[in-house]
Amino acid sequence: MSAPRPISKLLVANRGEIAVRVIRAAHEQGLRTVAVYSDADRTSLHVRMAHEAYRLGPPPPSASYLRIDLILEAARKSGADAIHPGYGFLAESAEFVEAIQEAGLIYVGPPASAMRAMGDKISARATVETSGVPLVPGATLTDVSDAAACRATADGVGYPLLVKASAGGGGKGMRLVRESAEVTGAIKRASGEALTAFGDGTVYLERFIEEPRHVEIQILADDHGTTIALGERECSVQRRHQKVIEETPSPAVDETLRAKMEAAAVACAESCGYRSAGTVEFLVGADRAFHFLEMNTRIQVEHPITELRYGVDLLAEQLRIAQGLPISFAGELPTPAGHAIEVRICAEDADHGFMPSTGTLGAVHLPGGPGVRCDGHVHFGQVVGLDYDNLLLKLIVHADSRGAAILRMKRALWETRLPGLTTNIPLLLRTLDDERFVSGNYDTSILDDSAAPEPDADDIMPVIAAALAMHRRIKKTHVPPSTASTQPSPWVAAGRSWWRR
């Protein structure tokens, strides 16, 4: 079938792993690709993978990846006929969609009207309420200056409650409040953070469901009247309200619950005239009752687990739908098979408050072998700073059973080496060994008490490893330059300067 709105050249308005993922999908469709970059990303992988690349500006997102005018200018210069937003940055900006369409280009994503209806938590609730989808109690605060009024509104929602930024997501500005006495301070801080991050200080208060599981449904909708659901993703392993491990199917969802949640997600998408790939997020309580949380009007970070279990390519479907084509398998839904798990490897110190870590990557080693997929943007010599999100790499595995998938992920993580940065790999490995995770009986609190094991006096490896490393360092400084190793890496230099001090 020939496309009513054919795309020949796609601009990817993003960076990092999702820019790489979109470029891969586009290349498999035979499209030309255009990257955009900030000064911090001149040498990044997406710039090198795309056929063309255009500079946006300095590193801060407000001067680069959030500049609609500069992105449209790059599209004009390159002659791109479509723009994919990835996730984050402008991915949920209706204004961006409209600007693209006014320029006569195709936006690879939902219509601005659907984004407006679902992108904001308040209007999303109003929209889905009419379709009978169950909601969590909540309220909006646009003006946070009157402490007494804020507190009264919060008391109306009930405790415990979450305070979060009304715009955007990703856990920014989010706080848990258990008592009325603490709520005004939390609202003030969340509003300040929201203002910094999104330019909008509006906060949303939401009743906190105890022992909740975070389960979401993937949907796809095309211009030909088809809206389908592709099962759930279990996203309950979170730190600071950000997902760390996702799996499908969810150990908490049986066929009956899945059918109900899929129907609710489809109703939700249809209620706002949705097109493209989207995700409807639910909280599932200990009683297996589910509540609508929000709809993400974009591709999700964790989309690959759905791809592996259903044997589909969600990015390719997005590109088809954007061109006016029907979903490729709309006539016959793919049969799900096996179990898929994704972990997010981030540059952070999980044992010290998840503080982001920075540095220069050495020789990166990525896992291979059966059933393992790496979606990342890491490379030798990559400088990881604080300008952007600290996600480095996603590992996704697929196997016949959940048990086999866990074993496969553990061996894949064991193989992964990212020297030069502190990462959350130790946390991921011990979570995969956590008996709550292994049993499948876990909720969003699973990481709250996770701690590195105490050193074992009988374990002699670290003692010898430290001594030999120092010995090598010292001996190396005594070796004549001609026989010394040619190029000391950054940490060798760091070690030496410490030694010489």
């Binding site: 080496r417 502190t422 490896m461 120092m470």
Partner: protein, 175 residues
């Protein structure tokens, strides 16, 4: 008679272990508290990783040295191992310095950011884990907490101030 090798003093699991390394070209002999371990270490991946074989057990790790400790990153864990050689040890003993003394009485910034809000005042007693200040970085507001109980001796920063990684934030004195 065995020639005396180079000695390193390593803190591990609350104990000091003395590691002696002998030999050179033909291979190394490693003694830990007098017990001999057959060991071999080889640089791999452009020198960014070391592969260690101890009595047939294999471990590959990255290492960097900071504040008198080796930060070792193995496949599945990252550990901090305080270590000194003989020269460092003698220099320290000569000046009467204690090993990693008062290390956690100084609260430092682990990343660049901006101090958003101070939550404690000088002379205020604090519990271990109590929030001392809010540091904004990566667009997140991070609570910087007390590593142990104590009294706030000095606050080195003020609200609105930008700080570098490693900057002193708060000094704690014992209760």
């Amino acid at each position: 008679m065995a020639r005396r090798g180079t000695r390193y003093y390593v803190q591990w699991a609350g104990e000091e272990r003395v590691v002696e390394i002998r030999g050179g070209q033909a291979g190394l002999e490693v003694l830990v508290d007098g017990t001999v371990y057959p060991a071999d270490v080889a640089a791999v991946e452009n020198g960014d990783l070391l592969n260690l074989l101890v009595d047939g057990q294999s471990a590959t790790y990255a290492v960097r040295f900071e504040d008198g400790a080796a930060m070792l990153s193995f496949h599945d864990r990252e550990v901090r191992v305080p270590i000194e050689d003989e020269r460092g040890r003698m220099a320290r003993l000569a000046t009467g310095g204690s090993r990693s003394g008062g290390a956690d009485s100084e609260v430092k910034s682990v990343m660049p950011g901006v101090v958003k809000e101070l939550l404690v005042a000088p002379d205020q007693p604090v519990q271990a884990g109590q929030a001392l200040l809010i540091l904004e970085a990566m667009k997140m507001e991070n609570e910087i907490r007390a590593p142990r109980e104590g009294v706030v001796e000095r606050i080195h920063v003020e609200a609105g101030q930008a700080v570098e990684k490693g900057a002193q934030l708060v000094s704690l004195a014992p209760l």
